[in-house]
Amino acid sequence: MNPSAAGTWDEFMEGVWRQNPVFVMVLGMCPTLAVTVSVVNALSMGVSTMLVLIASCGLVSMMRNITPKEVRIAVYIVIIATFVTVVDYAIQAISLKLYDALGAFIQLIVVNCIILGRAEAHAAKNPPLPAMINAAGMGIGFTIGLLALGTVREVLGAGTLFGVTLFGAGFQPWVIMVLPPGGFFVLGAWLLFFSWLERRKLRRRQAKLVEATQNA
């Protein structure tokens, strides 16, 4: 891989894994907990957020050289709100049922700190292409996070996946999983899992280091 491609890949993977907005940065928890009662909701919320993220980071980045710092937040918010409105109309045109299921959380993408954070921390300092690639990575990371919650909650809470029944008629849905407390339980379990992974990696690295020193 040549260095520039490696840089791009790094830019992209930052949001998908290393700085995953849900599991590492723990940002945007409001939609994460509220709409992940089913896989379809989680997926559409994730994709909507990603589209807003990519489009607004692109535009913020294009305007970065003519945006005086005093008015930058206002500019970001106007740009983000615009793309949220576009996505809002698009979802209404695609499916009203989905629109009702996602409720106010579509409009609330405007105040999702992941997007404002990306605009301020990355898009405002980088050319459009890297900014959009980074935004796409973040968006995919966010979508993965939502899907991780949505899958567990739908399977346990309703016994279905993408609306398809998984278990026989004898399955008694674990209803609390699709209620708000279930969101916290599942999020907590995932955070535990990821920090366990992180710990394990750290311990292995330390063990290797100790081994290397002993051998030397």
């Binding site: 535009l59 003519i66 615009t82 409105t85 576009v86 045109a93 849905p173 209803v175 699709v178």
Partner: protein, 248 residues
Amino acid sequence: MTEPSEPSVSAAKVIPIAVAGATPPVPPASPTAPMIRTLGLVSAICGLIIVGAYQGTYDAVAANKRIATERAVFKVIPAAQSIAEYVALPGGGIEPRVGAGDTAPGGVKFFAAYDAGGKLAGIAAEGGAKGYADTVRIMFGYAPDCQCVVGIGVVAMRETPGIGDKIITDKNFLANFNALDVKLKGDLSALANEVRAVKHGAKTSPWQIDAIAGATITSRAVGRAINDSAQVLLPRLVPNLDKLRSKS
């Protein structure tokens, strides 16, 4: 304190350093013109994008809304093939509803549903009442011949999954709406008997709704939604039924 000049000198020395340390090289404030230019440009671009999105999706959104309403009406009046929207006016009387704007204050929106032959198959109207979690909004079908409610469908609710949302699946509960009596009094001013949900198993009259055991609050909300809406709509609608008999 003995030498007044010393602290002032050290202060004069310290302060510039502290300022420089707190806020690294501060460029002078931007002039106003670029700010106005940028904000104006952003507003113009964003305005164009929003107008474009609105225009581009308007037809699809309107079609979706119409389909959603039709589906809800067809569900409560299975014989229906087409619908027409009407408004029942506060002074009595009805008029066709035109455009997509809000209804006149005090007016009640309802749908006249026609069968394949263009004859009136039933009336559908919406009602809402506070349930366990939020307002339960329902659509109910009214059959003029038996003066009864012949079906309900849920338009929107946030009731507890597995408990309150049984109102759309529980067969015994839905059987209440095969012929729920909503006859008017002799002078057509109000319902002869108030529609209400009673405790599970306590239903004695055709205007009562047998509540779902364990979901009494949601069942009551359905009863109140039908009652409140029928009390307002039917006194205005029934005297005018003849105008709706066949499709205009």
